[in-house]
Subunit: 233 residues, 2 copies
Amino acid sequence: MIEIHPLSGIPEINKGDDLAAAITAGLAATGLVPREGDVLVVTHKVVSKAEGATAVLVGEENAAYRALVEEEAVEILRRRGDLVIAKTRHGFICANAGVDRSNTAPGTAVLLPRDPDRSAHSLRLSLLQATGVDMPVIITDTFGRAWRKGLCDVAIGLSGLEAIADLRGTFDDFGRELKVTEVAVADEIAAAADLAMGKATAMPAALVRGLGLPIGNGRATDLVREAPGDLFR
Amino acid sequence: MIEIHPLSGIPEINKGDDLAAAITAGLAATGLVPREGDVLVVTHKVVSKAEGATAVLVGEENAAYRALVEEEAVEILRRRGDLVIAKTRHGFICANAGVDRSNTAPGTAVLLPRDPDRSAHSLRLSLLQATGVDMPVIITDTFGRAWRKGLCDVAIGLSGLEAIADLRGTFDDFGRELKVTEVAVADEIAAAADLAMGKATAMPAALVRGLGLPIGNGRATDLVREAPGDLFR
């Protein structure tokens, strides 16, 4: 059985706040004692806020927001009205280059963390120090998809797991070798955690227990399909 | 807390088998008594097999497989080598029009169910009769994505839930109205269940408990972004 526990008791996070301490307090407030095998999922918004990856929208807010999106984008794939589908400097393709105005103070926007894999790694080390348990960390954002409506949370930062479980070389129940089954486990964990965290509530983190995944050395950028291999640019 | 329980004890399913009975037996074998609010997730493969949505690959297997993919596709979006990205008759965009040769007897392929939303609805009604509990049902398949590597399970059939939780009109913690947050909950549940079911094991179903979602009337086809609204065709 897999369990997904949203963490309660995490206060609003501001620049310079100790996110690991806030999460450790959240674990305690939720009555959870971390165990080996647990994975900690946190929305990027609190990571960005703690790191100061936010911006004040100076002047007319919508114009300032649009300018900021252009600044954060390294490539614009599509535009329609106010919607921009862009590549971020990390290589992620998402709406508005990841610049977000929800769950942040009016007149401000939250950017993606500068290096979310590094942020995940730092948080993992701090949580190890605080709890004594080496918990893999996944930092999430909410992305749209081509061809399918609705948004799903995905992994944009990762430490302690492989991003993709490569099942090539294993066999199905009929003895047929699984040749192309590379499961994006980090994204599936992000999606699972989102079900528990919700969007409008102050629950920016969740503990996922019982995944049975070994510690690994993946990065969320392993999930980026670069243009030469991507049929849809 | 959300719990995801993979169901053990479900035997290999063949054409004409009573899938609801097999799942009910699986629930019992796993020690689960269904409750209101539980959601039953099942991979399409067993649904297709029960419905006889399979094909024998006559003659040279790879050639027969490729011909079958062309037959199942209503539109080819991209080709590269043996890989075909196609639209199915349901409107889903996926590799090889959903025709799959893993976890099926050598020389055969599994197709998508003809009408997976209807399949989900039938299964939901049969499970209600068998267990007395109205459990929403999600039928899943494993899809690739544009821009991101790795595969994630998604919903291709649905009964008893909304496919998309529309949060427009609700407010974030700063009182800002959430304008475009439509969460593809059916896909997130599919992804979450996949983490418990695995790919090469004989666990084609899972019970997801604690989602807190109301009964709804969505269809998995609600998740299809039609070409006029899709920037990536």
